[in-house]
């Protein structure tokens, strides 16, 4: 059927994609002027949506057509004597589809949401620039344009993070974000430097041929640090829960849902594509970091009662799951198990797609709540399901999908990852073979904790009785945002019910990266998915969804016919206590208390202190919980103190006399001469 249509050749695809990026940049410039009145910002967001949709279409065509060698276009811009190469190979096309589908829908949502931001001039111009930066990273086929796109993406998102700089928290978040982004980009620079090798060929094609300058393992470590800090792997994740909530909601949807995926793309491009064949122990650090990220991310999310920070911490967990898939792919590829590596890779990219869908949905939902109530703290929300029905339904779909529960897409990628884990006994080396089940246990544990986290999130925001006046006065959001959320929810269901199609589309990716591909799922009956073989394990998304729907409908019908229709509304049953205040119901903090006591006392050294008033005093007793963010205290605080001390010493250099400066110059000159003299 597709062949019948006139298919733009691969070269034309890349040119159109490049043109689309250019138009995004033009939009950014236009945004500066148009942002004054709301109509202008609506136009910019609308145009963004169209361009992203076009880009997504192009990428999909590039992904589906089986042309082996992607055609590159050269631009004169670039390093002196070098050019910028742009192309859409299978990996970039897959990620371009993910990035642009989500950006398009978020932009549609932003038309309504972005219009009544406090000062649109600070947000509207940088929004298209941010998307352009991300697409440039995906299209880049040489180190220079990759890093330019990377930095452009970071700076545009930084500008968006500090767009609401009234609150001290946002400024601090911006500062931490800029420092981490710069450090990450620096490590990527070194990684590309090593990959470029001695003859300095900076295009990816040359990097693939030429031998790396230093040890390839160093490239892995640098890529893990560089891309990992942008994606949010544990030791380098501290900026993510600060920066993502600080941005306006539709931007944090993009940052969490899409930018972290571009970071994953960067890691995959460097490690799988450019760094040549991996040795077996490469997967050990990736798996360990990923496991810790998944577990710590979800535990942090459980302790939060600020909705957007909860979602941001949860992004860290999902990145952990994605990197578990990538670690498995590395382990399998190193020991030559092509099919298993392809399965693990498809599982990881599928989870990238899923996460971009439901995380953007949840962030748009939190944006809708923020608009309706002006409140992000779940302790002041509650009972919004009666006042914001559409947001409630879509948020519920997002929560069920992110908790990896069957009819939705989150479960499929989790199921694929488990199937990949179950192939681990064939790994020849001992360490990955024993490490993989432990990582499987961590993955299972974090999935269960994720379900608990989102019962808490949905329960304390939408269910129960409203805990504050703003929650009582909440109203449903505008049509644009609702339509975007409904679009995301239906995509989540579609990807969950028809996983076969998505897996077939991703076969190109595993071909490019590990040289092996899963056999086509189209042949399976009932549209089910059996990655390795039917009797090894199969999942019929459509089958399960149909069975649940039929069973639920049948039960409801029988109940309606057989059971009595009498239904009476009465006050809720709470031991007959007359009209208790909303404060008696469970809040997000009390919901997480059992889990905090089980896990938190170990991981965060959580301690609960009850301060009772002295006997006879009329003061209120107070429950205070103090927790320590172990990663921050072990990793960041010492670094900050060290920098502080050094800076203290170095400032003295500012106030020397000219003679002392000359002394320094003279000393260094002598030192160098001594070195030259004695170095023979």
């Amino acid at each position: 059927m597709i062949q019948a249509l006139w298919l733009p050749g691969p070269l034309l695809l890349t040119q159109l994609a490049a043109a689309a990026i250019a138009s995004l940049l033009v939009l950014a410039v236009l945004g500066v002027f148009l942002a004054r009145h709301p109509l202008g910002s609506r136009f910019v967001y609308g145009a963004c949506a169209l361009v992203c949709a076009a880009l997504a279409g192009l990428a999909l065509l590039a992904l589906l057509d089986p042309s082996p060698t992607p055609s590159q276009i050269r631009l004169a811009v670039g390093l002196p004597l070098g050019q910028t190469l742009l192309a859409l190979d299978a990996l970039s096309a897959a990620f371009a589809v993910i990035v642009n589908v989500t950006s398009a829908i978020v932009s549609v949502g932003a038309i309504g949401y972005g219009a009544h931001a406090r000062d649109p001039q600070r947000v509207v111009p940088f929004y298209p620039a941010f998307i352009a930066g991300m697409n440039l990273v995906l299209l880049a086929q040489d180190a220079f344009s990759f890093l330019v796109g990377w930095e452009f993406m970071s700076l545009a998102s930084w500008a968006l993070v500090v767009s609401e700089d009234r609150s001290e928290g946002n400024r601090y978040a911006g500062l931490v974000y800029v420092i981490m982004a710069a450090a990450g980009a620096l490590t990527l620079l070194f990684a590309f430097g090593i990959l470029a090798g001695t003859d300095g060929g900076y295009s990816f094609a040359e990097m693939r041929q030429s031998a790396a300058f230093g040890p390839a393992a160093l490239v892995l470590v640098l890529a893990l640090i560089g891309a990992g800090s942008k994606a949010g792997l544990v030791p380098l994740h501290a900026w993510l829960p600060l920066a993502h909530p600080a941005a306006p909601s539709h931007v944090s949807a993009l940052m969490s849902g899409v930018m972290t995926k571009v970071a994953v793309y960067g890691f995959m491009r460097i490690v799988f594509d450019l760094a040549g064949p991996p040795s077996w122990w490469w997967s050990v650090p990736v798996l360990v970091v990923a496991g810790v990220t998944a577990f710590l991310g979800v535990l942090h999310a459980l302790m939060e009662h600020d909705l957007k920070r909860l979602l941001a911490y949860h992004t860290v967990e999902n990145i952990g799951i994605i990197f578990i898939g990538l670690g498995l792919a590395l382990a399998f590829e190193a020991s030559g198990m092509g099919a298993a590596a392809a399965l693990a890779l498809v599982a990881a990219v599928f989870h990238v797609f899923n996460h971009s869908l439901f995380k953007s949905l949840l962030f748009l939902g939190s944006g809708a709540i923020l608009n309706a109530t002006g409140e992000r703290d779940m302790e002041h929300l509650g009972g919004l399901i009666h006042r914001m029905p559409v947001t409630a339904v879509t948020f519920l779909v997002g929560c069920v999908a992110i908790s990896a529960l069957p009819p939705f897409n989150g479960f499929v990628s989790e199921w694929l990852t488990f199937q990949a884990i179950l192939l681990s006994p064939e790994l020849p080396q001992w360490i990955p073979r024993l490490l993989v089940p432990a990582i499987g246990a961590t993955l299972a544990c974090s999935a269960a904790l994720a379900a608990a986290c989102f019962v808490k999130a949905f329960g304390s925001t939408f269910l129960g009785r409203p805990r504050s006046q703003v929650a009582i006065a909440a109203r449903e959001t505008d049509l644009w945002l609702r339509s975007a959320m409904v679009a995301f929810a239906s995509l989540c269901l579609l990807a969950g019910v028809l996983p076969g199609w998505v897996m077939d589309a991703l076969r190109g990716v595993s071909d490019v990266l590990v040289g092996a591909r899963l056999d086509s799922q189209a042949a399976q009956p009932w549209l089910k998915v059996a990655p390795i073989s039917a009797d090894r394990g199969a999942y019929g998304g459509l089958l399960v969804f149909a069975m649940i729907a039929i069973a639920a409908a049948a039960t409801a019908l029988i109940a309606r016919r057989v059971a009595s229709h009498a239904l009476r509304r009465a006050p809720a049953w709470d031991c007959g206590f007359p009209d208790p205040s909303p404060a008696t119901q469970y809040t997000s903090g009390s919901f997480a208390q059992p889990i905090r006591r089980v896990f938190g006392s170990l991981v965060f050294r959580a301690r609960e202190h009850v301060e009772m008033p002295k006997p006879g005093a009329a003061g209120a007793a107070r429950l205070r919980v103090d927790m320590h963010d172990t990663v921050w205290e072990l990793f960041y605080a010492p670094v900050i103190r060290l920098v502080d001390v050094l800076a203290g010493h170095l400032t003295k250099l500012q106030f020397l006399t000219i003679r002392k400066y000359l002394m320094l110059v003279f000393a260094t000159l002598i030192l160098l001469l001594i070195i030259i003299g004695t170095w023979r």
């Binding site: 199921w415 299972a444 009797d535 999942y539 409801a556 009595s564 919901f591």
Partner: protein, 317 residues
């Protein structure tokens, strides 16, 4: 092909019918152990019939989620129960879903039950949901580790393949299988809110976990949820039977005789399972809420150890 569809439909119906009977048997045996005459075997059916005829009282601030959750919970549990081969393997549906999907379906049921508990906004629902999710955060990984161990052993996560493998010649007695059985029993006790974890017949809200979430339900909603709870008990029993005691289940395509043997064998297994459960329940007392995570932690460790030991034995083969 028609035979598979027939077995699947019979399975669907049988599961629904047998579930309340199993609960009735457990109550009867429990009473007998306490030296009193238990309620008639068909008592659970009477409870359900009475509940269906009663009026449904719904709290004023209950949302559509409160009223639709029972049907979702029942549907997911029923589908999960229907996927497990009880008297015959080779069911049409189970080709489309394996053990991990069953664990996922139970997760969906638990997710909606917890949300329904939170919906009305009383503290009882909250205490039930938060404890249920805390138990689940350890029970589900333990369950998945059991699934790992068994599927690593049998080389597949499809239940029919696993039970066929267990019947096959290469089935040796391995330590990791023993660990898996113990872990699975612990998890099923926790998931079905039986004695050591939660007392099904308790009246003190503070000690409740499962009961607290459904405190607000009445009439036909409560009937559906009670049916789902007994279905879940039957599900775990048939899961243990299918994985660890698959003798007598009719292989796909066998004659009518094979099916009848399968049914009889399944009935016996259920009765024995029910009896053992009740004996264990009468012998132990309920644990403090924060002792249960250690209890479930043991199950998780056993599952993980089972998976690890399997590699040792697998290498030596």
């Amino acid at each position: 092909m028609i035979r598979d569809w027939l077995t699947q439909l019979v399975q669907l119906a049988a599961v629904l019918v047998l579930a309340p009977l199993l609960t009735g048997v457990t109550r009867k045996v429990k009473a007998r152990l306490l030296r009193r005459r238990g309620p008639p075997l068909l008592q659970p059916y009477r409870d359900l019939l009475k509940l269906i005829r009663k009026e449904t009282v719904v709290a004023e601030n209950a949302s559509w989620l409160f009223r639709s959750a029972p049907y979702v919970i029942f549907a997911t549990t029923w589908v999960a129960a229907a996927l497990i081969p009880t008297f015959a393997t080779g069911l049409t549906f189970s080709a489309g879903a394996d053990l991990i999907v069953i664990v996922g379906l139970l997760g969906t049921a638990r997710f909606f039950l917890a949300l329904a508990g939170l919906d009305v906004g009383t503290s009882f629902g909250g205490i039930g949901s938060s404890r249920e999710m805390m138990f689940a955060s350890l029970a589900e990984p333990a369950m998945l580790m059991v699934v790992f161990t068994v599927s690593l052993f049998a080389g597949s996560t499809q239940l029919s393949t696993i039970s066929a493998y267990m019947l096959g010649p290469q089935m040796g007695l391995s330590i990791s299988l023993a660990l898996a059985i113990v872990a699975l029993i612990i998890v099923s006790l926790a998931e079905n809110a039986r004695i050591p974890v939660d007392n099904p017949a308790t009246h003190l809200e503070l000690t409740m976990v499962h009961e607290a979430m459904i405190l607000e339900y009445s009439g036909r909603h409560l009937a559906v949820i009670e049916a789902a709870a007994s279905l879940k008990l039957l599900l775990y029993m048939s899961l243990i039977a299918c994985m660890f005691a698959p003798w007598g289940t009719a292989v796909a395509g066998g004659g009518a005789a094979a099916y009848s043997i399968g049914l009889v064998a399944y009935a016996i297994k259920l009765a024995v399972g029910g009896f053992l459960l009740v004996v264990f329940e009468t012998a132990t007392a309920k644990m403090r809420v924060f002792r249960v995570p250690e209890f479930l932690g043991v199950a998780l460790m056993l599952g993980l150890l089972g998976a690890m030991l399997l590699f040792v034995s697998r290498v030596s083969q």
